[in-house]
Symmetry: C2
Subunit: 217 residues, 2 copies
Amino acid sequence: MSLRIDAWTHIFPPAYFAKLQTIASAAGPLKRWMELTPLYDLEQRFPADGQVDAYQQVLTPSMPPIEDLAEGQAAVDLMRLMNDGLAELVKAHPDRFPAFAGALSLLDPDAAIAEIERAAKLGAIGFQICTHVRGTALDAPRFQPVFAAIAQRNLAIWLHPVRGPQPDYPTETKSHDEIWWCFGWPYDSSVAMARLAFSGISTGTPNCGSSPTTWAQ
Amino acid sequence: MSLRIDAWTHIFPPAYFAKLQTIASAAGPLKRWMELTPLYDLEQRFPADGQVDAYQQVLTPSMPPIEDLAEGQAAVDLMRLMNDGLAELVKAHPDRFPAFAGALSLLDPDAAIAEIERAAKLGAIGFQICTHVRGTALDAPRFQPVFAAIAQRNLAIWLHPVRGPQPDYPTETKSHDEIWWCFGWPYDSSVAMARLAFSGISTGTPNCGSSPTTWAQ
């Protein structure tokens, strides 16, 4: 039987999950995530995994985005806490978790670049980046050095939508049938990818110093 | 060579185009449409058609939606003016225009149903309906008799997105690279179709008296 690798499975490392509950409200979307026990409870996660032979999970950070939780040093601390935790999970369970993609907050591009260097040494094979940064598009010039830092290390990017449960129509107060993410997330990802591609970042801009194929995996 | 039929080509019939210019501003989106001369000038439209042999166009109304232009009797008059004009074009050029889909305004469902009956007698093979009616979803109960009236006549629906050139991100004022329609229109169509399907209209509701496969073509 061939090995199957799920390349995008979210998780909360234990220390990060404990910290998250001290800084974020349990209401709304966060409550939704916390009800998904396999996100933070390995005992819940492992039996489900065991139902498929020869199956491994590449770990990625769970939502919410760090950009929505903290700024400054607190955001740096959350990046480190998440990435240290992901690295520990991979080290402790290499048969189940062959690799991880790290968390970044892009609010402070210099801090993100420092964390890219640090997490890469911990074994990160790439980074999860959200489709916008508090409403700012990823093709904003200030983010280009972040993409360059990832590309220079030949690492990949997991691009994650961050649209919340907004109504489907302006005359309504609530999305029906999970439409907000089922169609809204592919839309948000498409827009973000188009903006990046048309920004010229993929054809090698002066600020983006590496091969165009690296970051677009 | 096999016949090719383009099943969704917009047009402004001459009398409707003249009327439109008296009631709508030439600024913004309308200016955009008016610059597309084949939309209203058969002399411009025909040579382009002639470059492809064995090619025909099913005519459909050009945007903007009548719901955005008028209410009450003025909206009824616009529906009639558009549908009479489409029927005349089909009658005058049957070799180029084998059929047409009529215009409807759904603001007044009873008026829409009356126009469905009238336009069907003129030869309409279906109707173009917008993905929302001034922000109201198509699964609103008041629109169900309109869908039933179309289904009972075994006619088709052309579902048209109506999103305007909105910014891609809340921090911006203008969409880049035509993203607003290139990705926004498929999103809007997907949402509208999902809402209709999950509303139960496709499985035969009490208010929708015909086969579920008819209107969903």
